[in-house]
């Protein structure tokens, strides 16, 4: 396997990790607000904050890891994305900053403030929308390179069916992943009222998720026919993803194996995400940056991969420790510790 392929796989893995942990977080914010509006907040808010409190900072690192790694392995991406994404990037930073810091601020006070809960819920949906812009423009057709530099064409972006379907997919996936996780967590906590509530959310958000996946595919065929063709060639990968989706929904509907259901959700997105990534290649940013064209020097690639392996040896045991203490420790989840 070439260095660049190792590099992009590693980065894709971290982006996938961020997709899962951040979706849980972002969706939880929305559900917390929704529960408050519908006067059901006493049922699930404790559950959400018990899970989120020890891990919100870790969630943030996944994201930092991805973009620092991307610049490290593919410095040309810094140029093209940096030039074109000033506004959506800055908006995403501001939303992330408000959300992250205010989570910590409020964690020690009361969660009674209506405006705060609204902001917390709203940013949970706006951040995925802002971040998904980066994936959208990587398909090409939204940026132009002139003598004055690289510019994002906002008119094209806002009038494109593809960009809107990506935004829609990002938002509904967030709500779907989050509610599936919360159902699992409520089951661990033995919290029946919370479980009943989030199980309904999970079933509700499953259909828009699969519909949005399909419409995004169709819009992609308009936006980037070559990419669409490569995705069609990988049809079986997406078929496996759909199978996992059906398994997850079936298990939740049965109401027994919540742990397996969430694993199925993770596999559903893992397979689809890697299928999407694989069909995106050889372009990282169509048509400006290709996998082999944008890669850094060999010496740096080797150094990064060595550090990456050493880092994982440090991180994986630590992450397992974190999860055992807060996610899989039944007494903690139930609120006894």
């Amino acid at each position: 396997m070439s260095y660049e392929l190792v590099g992009i796989s590693v980065l894709w893995l971290f982006l996938y990790g961020y997709l899962i942990v951040a979706s849980i977080d972002f969706g939880a914010g929305f559900f917390a607000y929704f529960a408050k509006v519908t006067k059901k907040d006493h049922i699930i808010n404790k559950l959400i904050s018990r899970y989120l409190s020890p891990v919100w900072e870790v969630t943030n690192v996944f994201f930092v890891f991805f973009f620092v790694g991307l610049i490290g392995f593919f410095p040309d991406m810094a140029y093209y994305f940096g030039q074109s994404l000033l506004i959506p990037g800055s908006i995403a930073i501001v939303l992330l900053a408000i959300r992250g810091s205010f989570y910590a601020f409020e964690n020690y006070g009361s969660k009674e403030n209506h405006l705060y809960m609204f902001l917390y819920g709203a940013t949970g949906l706006l951040i995925p929308a802002a971040l998904s812009t980066a994936l959208t423009i990587s398909e090409g057709g939204f940026i132009e390179e002139t003598e004055n530099g690289v510019h994002l064409m906002y008119g094209e972006l806002f009038s494109s069916p593809y960009s809107w379907s990506v935004v829609f997919l990002a938002i509904v996936s967030v709500l779907y992943i989050s509610s599936m996780f919360l159902a699992f967590y409520a089951k661990r906590a033995g919290d029946q009222p919370a479980l009943d509530l989030v199980r309904k959310y999970a079933l509700f958000w499953s259909s828009p998720t699969i519909i949005a996946s399909l419409t995004t595919f169709i819009a992609l065929s308009q936006q980037n026919p070559e990419h669409f063709q490569r995705a069609i060639d990988l049809w079986w990968v997406f078929g496996i993803s759909v199978a996992f989706f059906m398994a997850a929904v079936f298990l939740i509907y049965q109401g027994k194996y919540y742990g397996w259901a969430f694993i199925a959700v993770m596999l559903q997105f893992f397979v689809a995400f890697f299928g999407y990534g694989a069909s995106h290649l050889p372009y990282l940013l169509y048509p400006y940056v290709t996998l082999s064209g944008g890669v850094t020097s060999e010496a740096m690639a080797v150094a990064l991969i060595v550090v990456f392996i050493a880092g994982l040896l440090l991180l994986i045991p630590s992450l397992i420790m974190l999860m055992r203490m807060f996610l899989f420790d039944a007494d903690y989840v139930k609120g006894k510790k």
Binding site: F73, G82, S101, V150
Partner: protein
């Protein structure tokens, strides 16, 4: 509305974000050390006062760390958004320390989460204390890696530039560039110093408000002694940094010291002003001291600005930044030393209000010195973004929207500051240490307080 070009606006926005982040990053590196020390003393001496100190510091720390994390994410992304051409070039050479910094950050984040939510979860309190060690290691390593990146910008090496193409990259040589050792030493020691000073300020203010409890007295003793130790380390680091500058970046030292003519036995210029003819007035001159500062020899030759091409000269006002930083450093050393003398000499009162006011000033002053020091270091390598290779204007974005983003981020940092202050007040205002002590450790509170 914005008459300034993108490069100037990008500089302003970067300075704003970094200047704001530096406050929280400094605390983020230093406070875990103080927490770890306090918890350790508490366990060893079986003194709940120190354990409570660690607990309360930790609670405040979560608020500052949150702002540090989000503003750190902001600067991480802004580097590419505002300086795309620069990151395209530099990213090829310094990706390694940038990448490692996120590993250190990851490590710290995981253990900070565990540390925060496991007080009272272990039978043996040493296990909980052990969790503070990875937090200290992670935050200090973060400082090390990111400072090595800054060192690279000052003394780039480990690559060759052929036209626009970067070749012969040596990641380790770039990381361990000549500026790295002194910069890291200076950044880490001043972070520890500043965090200890900020905590000393809090203790001193409580004592000034006549809350003469054992808890605040112990807090003062621990923090001021730490300030003294870290101030000595900072002074050594500062001296090594000056010698490094004389060797590798003479233009920065010369501009900072208003040293115009290359000469032997150069005088040190302290404060003063410049008149229209670029002559120094109203200054205190210490004969031959600059030579000693730069080379450890009173008669050594010090390169002056006459050796530097005019268009590569840093702005001369950084002189004030240098002088303010150094003065605060010596003031901090002096006050903390005075406290220790007063404490050891039985007849003298180390809680004299004037001395307490002096200690109370150390936190804000140290933080100001951190900012002055960074302004000196960063403006001192103007006009370069990558010294000798790329100027600031070549590295900046061409986007016409930077001015609007500047306004957006001014708004963000205002909101974050207000939220941070409200949250800290909420934590400590309604829950003074005495109450908490009574609540958690009734047996200690029952024994007579406040002698």
């Amino acid at each position: 509305m914005f008459d300034l070009d993108s490069a100037t606006l990008s500089r302003m926005l970067t300075a704003l974000t970094l200047g704001y982040h530096a406050i929280f990053a400094t605390l983020g590196v230093g406070i875990p050390v103080m927490i770890s020390i306090a918890e350790f003393i508490g366990i060893k001496k079986k003194d709940p006062h120190y354990t409570l100190l660690a607990r309360r510091w930790t609670r405040g720390f979560t608020i500052t760390v949150a702002v540090g994390v989000v503003t750190g994410t902001a600067i991480g992304l802004q580097l590419s958004l505002l300086w795309p051409s620069f990151m395209q070039l530099a990213g090829k050479v310094i990706a390694l320390p940038l990448f490692m910094e996120t590993f250190a950050f990851f490590f710290e984040a995981i253990f900070l989460g565990i540390y925060l939510y496991t007080w009272d979860r272990f039978k043996n309190p040493m296990y909980h204390w052990l969790l503070s060690i990875p937090v200290v290691i992670g935050s200090t390593l973060s400082a090390f890696f990111i400072t090595s990146v800054n060192g690279f910008l000052n003394t780039p090496q480990g690559f060759e530039l052929e036209g626009d193409t970067v070749t012969s990259i040596q990641p380790l040589a770039a990381m361990f560039n000549p500026a790295t050792p002194t910069k890291v030493f200076h950044v880490v020691s001043t972070s520890y110093l500043t965090a200890a000073a900020v905590l000393a300020t809090i203790a001193a203010i409580y004592l000034l408000k006549k809350k003469n409890t054992l808890y605040h007295m112990k807090a003062l003793k621990l923090t001021v002694v730490s300030v003294f130790i870290f101030a000595i380390a900072t002074a050594i680091a500062g001296d090594l940094s000056a010698k490094f500058l004389a060797e590798e970046q003479p233009e920065k030292l010369a501009a900072g010291e208003w040293h115009f003519e290359t000469e032997e036995g150069a005088d040190l210029v302290v404060f003063g002003t410049l008149n229209e003819n670029q002559e120094v007035e109203n200054a205190i001159r210490i004969p031959n001291a600059l030579s000693f500062l730069a080379h450890g020899d009173f008669n050594a030759e010090v390169t002056g600005l006459d050796q530097i091409p005019d268009d590569e000269e840093p702005p001369l006002w950084i002189h004030y930044m240098f002088d303010l930083m150094v003065s605060i450093g010596f003031f901090t050393l002096g006050i903390s030393l005075m406290y220790m003398v007063f404490w050891k000499v039985k007849k003298w009162n180390e809680y004299h209000p004037l001395l307490l006011w002096g200690i109370a000033s150390l936190g804000p002053l140290s933080m100001a010195a951190v900012e002055f020091g960074w302004v000196f270091a960063e403006l001192g390598r103007q006009p370069w973004i990558l010294r000798g290779f790329m100027t600031v204007s070549e590295g900046a974005t061409t986007s016409p929207y930077v001015g609007w983003m500047l306004i957006l981020f001014i708004g963000l940092y205002t909101v974050l500051s207000i939220g941070c202050i409200i949250a800290l007040r909420k934590i400590f205002k309604g829950n003074p240490a005495e109450h908490e002590l009574e609540h958690r450790y009734p047996e200690v509170a029952a024994a007579k307080e406040g002698n």
